[in-house]
């Protein structure tokens, strides 16, 4: 109870609440702008946290995280373009409702489902994260190494694009993390005699370059499409209880799917929304109306993609292992502000963890009321010319990359990362595994080398002396082999005898 009181005192301050209000508003707006989404919302807000205290800084980013997940549905419903990939399945029923003249009602279903999904997943987070951390607290270096290896493999294999390219991106990220001093002996590596490289490659400039600047290049590269037609909306109409009563089960089920998918590394909100939508379509008594403007379609997609927020924070907070690019950015931001997510966070800093839980509840409430009050404003902002937005993104990228360490070299790192990231995107190489490799690289190397020291330099001991690690390695191996076996079965020529 004492921790709860301390946590409330941390969250219920003017600066923290103000940060949540601003973060959520920016998150909704950036999430609503087609193609931008949560990673860019967090990237753009990151520089603004440098001058803030720890709690307001974290609250700002939490607000942006939750807000951007909901924001994607606004453009999906109003302009038939998902603000984020996670809202792609919202289009299927959201836009037909808008065409029918029910945009306000569609936004109402989306808002309630998103808020419910966010609150549901926060409860999942509250129960699951401490349990997971309690188990992980018993882990030594070998088990931690195995867990990171599993998470990296999971992220690389499940990411969009081919498994090989996902793993390649992960290995590039792991290599970049080795630049600078050796974590065990302090020897310099890969500095090539260039002094700025001795402090290593900054994570933030790489994230800014790869997520935000790359997006700008892609937009410049694409030919301008037809002008966007935004459907006017006077406000959001919250559907009455009679409309919700037959859909309560769906709301819970979709939120559960979203939370569960969020916990799994590498899956993300888009996968959660599609899985939930497919399940709703399969099981709904109104399945024949899906795709024609059926609210069940909106509810299933939106509850699931917002429920990912709490689910994805489970491994992030409990193990310090981010499951996707957005949570990698969250981990980096937390570290910048003096919080190291992982097994010891819960035991050493329970006030902060509880404060984060409380903040997630509050952020979802703020999101609800902000969207309700400012729906018309958000729909107007969708008309902002894209060139102005992207020019603003570039300028903010400069501030974000420079502000973390005040090091001019980081701006060049950002630029190089953007070019590399652009090239990789053109070749279907997913970028999140690279970022996660960079974030987890130092811990991955350290735990491996600590394990080698404990086992007198024997890798074999990792499998023979540590049953938990062995189990994790087996799962990892299965994860790597499954797509290969699945593909070879799928490509096997048909039996000519028809047997």
């Amino acid at each position: 109870m004492e921790s709860l009181g301390d946590s409330l005192a941390l969250v219920l301050t003017f600066s923290a609440l103000f940060a949540m209000v601003i973060g959520t508003a920016v998150g909704i707006l950036v999430g609503a702008l087609p193609g931008l989404g949560a990673p860019i919302a967090l990237t753009l807000l990151l520089p603004f946290t440098f001058g803030l205290d720890q709690i307001p800084a974290i609250m700002l980013l939490l607000g942006a995280y939750a807000g951007s997940m909901y924001g994607g549905s606004i453009s999906a419903i109003l302009i038939n373009t998902p603000g984020t990939l996670a809202a792609a399945s919202t289009i299927l029923d959201g836009y037909p409702m808008a065409v029918r003249g029910e945009a306000s009602r569609a936004l109402g279903f989306s808002l309630v489902a998103s808020t419910f999904g966010g609150l549901f997943s926060t409860i999942v987070l509250i129960f699951a994260a401490p349990q997971l951390a309690a188990v992980a607290l018993k882990f030594g270096p070998v088990e931690t190494f195995a867990t990171i290896f599993l998470a990296m493999t999971c992220i690389a294999t499940i990411s969009r694009g081919s498994m090989v390219k996902g793993l390649l991106a992960g290995s590039i990220g792991l290599f970049l993390a080795t630049v600078g001093s050796d974590p065990v002996t302090g020897d310099m590596r890969f500095d090539f005699g260039y002094f700025p490289l001795t402090s290593g490659i900054g994570i933030v400039p790489v994230i800014v370059g790869m997520f935000a600047l790359t997006e700008v290049y892609v937009r410049v590269l694409q030919k301008a499409g037809p002008p966007v037609v935004t459907r006017d909306v006077a406000g959001i109409t919250i559907p009455g209880w009679s409309e919700w009563r037959p859909r309560i089960g769906l709301l819970f089920k979709s939120s559960g799917i979203g939370s569960l998918v969020g916990i799994l590394p590498g899956t993300g909100s888009a996968a959660a929304a599609f899985i939930s939508y497919a399940e709703a379509k399969r099981s709904s008594p109104r399945s024949d109306k899906f795709g024609t403007g059926e609210p069940d379609g909106i509810i299933s997609a939106e509850a699931a993609n917002n429920a990912v927020t709490g689910g994805a924070l489970v491994p992030t907070l409990a193990l310090g292992i981010p499951g996707d690019g957005v949570t990698a950015l969250m981990v980096t931001s937390l570290i910048i502000h003096g919080v190291t997510p992982g097994v010891h966070l819960m035991s050493r800093n329970p006030e902060l963890v509880i404060a984060l839980f409380i903040a997630l509840f509050i952020v979802n409430g703020i999101m609800f009321f902000e969207a309700l009050l400012a729906a018309r404003l958000f729909s107007r902002l969708l008309r902002t010319p894209e060139p102005l937005l992207l020019a603003g993104v570039i300028v903010l990228c400069v501030v974000g990359a420079y502000g973390t360490r005040g090091n001019f070299f980081d701006l060049w790192v950002m630029l190089v990362a953007s070019v590399v990231g652009f090239g990789l995107r053109l070749q279907d190489v997913p970028l999140p595994p690279l970022i996660i490799g960079l974030v987890l690289g130092p811990q991955f190397e350290l735990t491996m080398r600590q394990g080698l020291i404990i086992s007198d330099g024997s890798f074999l001991a990792f499998f023979t002396n540590y049953p938990v690690a062995l189990g994790i390695f087996v799962v990892t191996g299965a994860l790597l082999l499954f797509p290969i076996l699945f593909r070879s079965r799928r490509h096997r020529p048909a039996d000519p005898k028809g047997s």
Partner: protein
């Protein structure tokens, strides 16, 4: 990868080939004489882990190259490559002079370049935006948040 990226692959295999070459060059660099005496006290040398990672990098890059060659190729389409290269050149130029002229003018330059490259022509909108947005940011960071931006200080400006 977003579906709209599917047709943006005129250099199929090029990135994988570059990855093979870069990984190979980095692997060779791990055998430099300067690393021979490092790693004292560790179970394995300083370069042991990087070589494992680079080995995986090279192997995966080769596999990626093979898959690029065997996959059906996309037809190159006319895209605004010139726009991207021009934007990149502007960014390099702006970063190059940012230390001398300061954040605000350099950021305004990039802002203008982006807007014009993307074909936006309404000067009544972009001119004030290009001037005021970097200035506003500089004010917020420099004066309100206490984050010093690159280049000459703006203390005298506000």
């Amino acid at each position: 990868m977003a579906p709209e990226m599917d047709h943006l692959q005129p250099f199929r295999g090029l990135i994988s080939a570059l990855a093979v070459l870069t990984g190979g060059a980095l692997m060779l660099s791990t055998f430099q004489a300067r690393y021979a005496d490092t790693g004292l006290g560790a179970a394995y040398g300083t370069m042991y882990y990087p070589r494992l990672v680079l080995g995986a990098w090279i192997l995966l890059a080769v596999l990626s190259l093979v898959s690029d060659w065997t996959a059906p190729g996309a037809q190159p389409e006319s895209r605004r490559w010139g726009g991207v290269l021009l934007l990149l050149a502007c960014e390099i130029f702006a970063l190059g002079i940012m230390k001398t002229i300061g954040f605000v003018p350099a950021a305004s330059l990039v802002f203008v370049a982006t807007v014009l490259i993307m074909g936006y022509r309404n000067a009544w909108v972009w001119v004030p935006c290009a001037a005021l947005f970097p200035l506003g940011l500089a004010f917020v960071f420099d004066r309100l948040l206490g984050v010093v931006l690159p280049g000459p200080s703006l203390t005298g400006l506000f």
